[in-house]
């Protein structure tokens, strides 16, 4: 794997550990306010400084990883499952199923800019983590379904599938045992890249006040509230911004690295 891919996976592991162990790693209580020490710059006791309520920014950034990755991974798991099911059925059966799925559903879902669709749903459903996950899943499954449909269309014409069919295997068995294992590689690559997208979408919506709600810390929300103190306490914008950029880069590197590793030929030519 390329060095960027290795760095990406290394960072992904670190981020996952931080998300899992944030309660043990955070040096301070994330809700502990100290109004006498508000907006304090980074110091030894508070390496990322304190926010407008005097809360420890470092601890809140660590907890932010928990929220971001929880949303990112849940959304990708839902999208990949639903997308695979719908894409596989459309690709395998073709005909009317495929016409409805790829001719209409894909176009209709792609007619809305993704983030706007999520924003629209949350505007009417109300903010919160669960509605956020629901909205991002509804906009996200299409790209997985398109990928899987394309892969299934290719694989179902191969000889071993024809052989399985000739031997009388059921459709369900052919799909599950013969076709799916052969389309899972690009799915994993897309899912890795998808986490980056979902993390970014969560941060965007939380920034707009439509995602994660207080007192749960979220990088997007921290950035939004830090904007008001840009001149006096730039660390309030800097550290959550860095956290988002690192996470997005890590999953992008990891996904690209995986892709190159799985298809050395294809990636060298592009």
């Amino acid at each position: 794997m390329s060095w960027t891919g290795k760095i990406g996976w290394g960072l992904v592991v670190v981020l996952l550990l931080v998300a899992l162990w944030a309660p043990y790693m955070a040096p301070h209580d994330i809700r502990q306010q100290d109004l006498t020490a508000r907006l304090q710059p980074p110091s030894r006791a508070h390496p990322m400084g304190r926010d407008e309520f005097g809360r420890d920014v470092f601890s809140r950034v660590l907890y932010g990883a928990r929220v971001s990755l929880r949303v990112g991974i849940t959304v990708v798991a839902i999208c990949a499952s639903v997308g695979t099911l719908i894409g596989a059925l459309a690709g395998y059966y073709g005909g009317w199923t495929d016409r409805i799925v790829s001719g209409f559903l894909f176009n209709a879902f792609l007619a809305f800019p993704g983030i706007l669709l999520a924003l629209a749903m949350i505007a009417f459903l109300g903010p919160g983590v669960n509605n956020l996950i629901l909205a991002l899943s509804i906009i996200g499954w299409v790209s997985y379904a398109r990928l899987i449909r394309g892969q299934v269309l290719k694989v179902k014409e191969l000889e071993f599938v024809q052989a399985a069919r000739a031997m009388g295997a059921s459709d369900a068995r052919i799909l599950w045992r013969h076709i799916l294992p052969n389309v899972v590689q690009p799915l994993i690559v897309q899912a890795t890249l998808g986490v980056a997208g979902a993390v970014l979408a969560e941060a965007s919506l939380s920034f707009l006040g439509l995602g994660v709600q207080e007192p749960m810390p979220s990088w997007g929300k921290m950035l939004d509230s830090g904007r008001a103190y840009l001149t006096t306490a730039p660390h309030l914008v800097l550290f959550p911004g860095l956290a988002i950029a690192t996470t997005v880069l890590a999953f992008n590197f990891a996904g690209d690295g995986l892709n190159e590793w799985l298809h050395p030929q294809r990636s060298r030519s592009t």
Partner: protein, 309 residues
């Protein structure tokens, strides 16, 4: 049938069901509100009479199908209803904000193209060298840094530290610089990678060898021949990314207090002014659809090699 009119006709046929889906979705959104949208807007202190009066006024006491048909009739007339807050026409409010968003989006596309084309071409010409690596790094930053992080950082640098550009405002050209840069950065990053890949691909073709064999210098080959073909995919991506740009505009407008449709949407959401939110969403989605269809059409006309499916 395969002339320009044929292509146009086939595109339009594909668009009709999508427009239906968009309008239906926006209509149904109002009924997603847990409980009652009128009650959510008026709050718990509202009397039952007030709620009933408002439900009646906005037609929310009628059967769903009747509401749906009425919504279509209204849209067909170009009427987007009236707002909850001050009962003024939604279309009027949107029209007063729409030009600002359009201005921002177009400026962002310009910024992106002006950064990406020279950067991508330089990277391709010096493939594997230090300039190529630098271009990759810039592109990477543009992708990883979301606009809500980039915007405040730009304000910090150009407004607070250097005092060179205003942190917010509207009307003068200098007000447009930071918002356009913020909104265009991600697109610039995507385009840089695309231009680089596209130029590298074109450089391999025989016509480049022919042009060089004729004795043309590198610059002429690059700008007269290679870029002309290499920029076709760029047009498509700009069009397709326009939707992402419109989504990003909501955030960028909020950072710079830009008086566009994005700020209007967020204000409407905060005030639970649902008809206004519906109107904003509909207009943004239809803009996106028009741009996408136009891009696709242009692409097929520009490059006759592409088969119409």
């Amino acid at each position: 049938m395969d002339g320009i009119l044929g292509i146009l006709w086939r595109r339009l046929v594909l668009v009709i069901p999508v427009v239906w889906a968009v309008v239906t979705f926006v209509f149904l959104l109002l009924h997603l509100v847990p409980g009652d949208p009128v009650l959510a807007f008026l709050g718990e202190t509202a009397t039952p009479e007030q709620v009933a009066e408002m439900r009646h006024r906005f037609g929310l006491d009628r059967p769903l199908l009747e509401q749906y048909l009425a919504y279509w009739k209204q849209i067909a007339r170009g009427d987007l209803g009236v707002t909850f807050v001050d009962r003024r026409p939604v279309a009027e409010k949107i029209l007063s904000r729409y030009p600002a968003t359009l201005q921002l989006a177009i400026a962002a596309v310009l910024v992106a193209v002006l950064i990406a084309v020279p950067l991508g071409v330089t990277a391709a010409r010096h493939q594997g060298g230090i300039r190529d690596a630098l271009a990759s790094l810039v592109a990477l930053l543009g992708i990883a840094l979301p606009n809500f992080a980039l915007g405040p950082l730009l304000i910090l640098l150009f407004s607070v530290k250097l005092g060179a550009l205003p942190p917010s405002g509207f009307g003068e050209p200098e007000h447009l610089v930071l918002p356009a840069l913020t909104l265009g950065a991600a697109l610039a990053a995507i385009l840089t990678r695309l231009v680089r890949a596209s130029v590298l691909e074109e450089l391999r073709h025989d016509y480049v060898k022919t042009a060089r064999a004729k004795g043309l210098d590198d610059r002429t080959v690059l700008y007269r021949h290679v870029l002309r073909n290499g920029l076709i995919p760029v047009i498509t991506i700009v069009g397709l990314q326009f939707g992402v740009l419109l989504g990003g505009a909501i955030i960028t407008e909020r950072i710079f207090n830009w008086p566009g449709i994005g700020t209007l949407t967020i204000e409407a959401i905060a005030a639970r002014d649902y008809p206004l939110v519906q109107g904003c969403l509909l207009v943004i989605a239809l803009t996106y659809l028009v741009v996408n269809t136009a891009t696709d059409f242009l692409y097929r006309v520009l490059d006759p090699r592409i088969q119409v499916e």
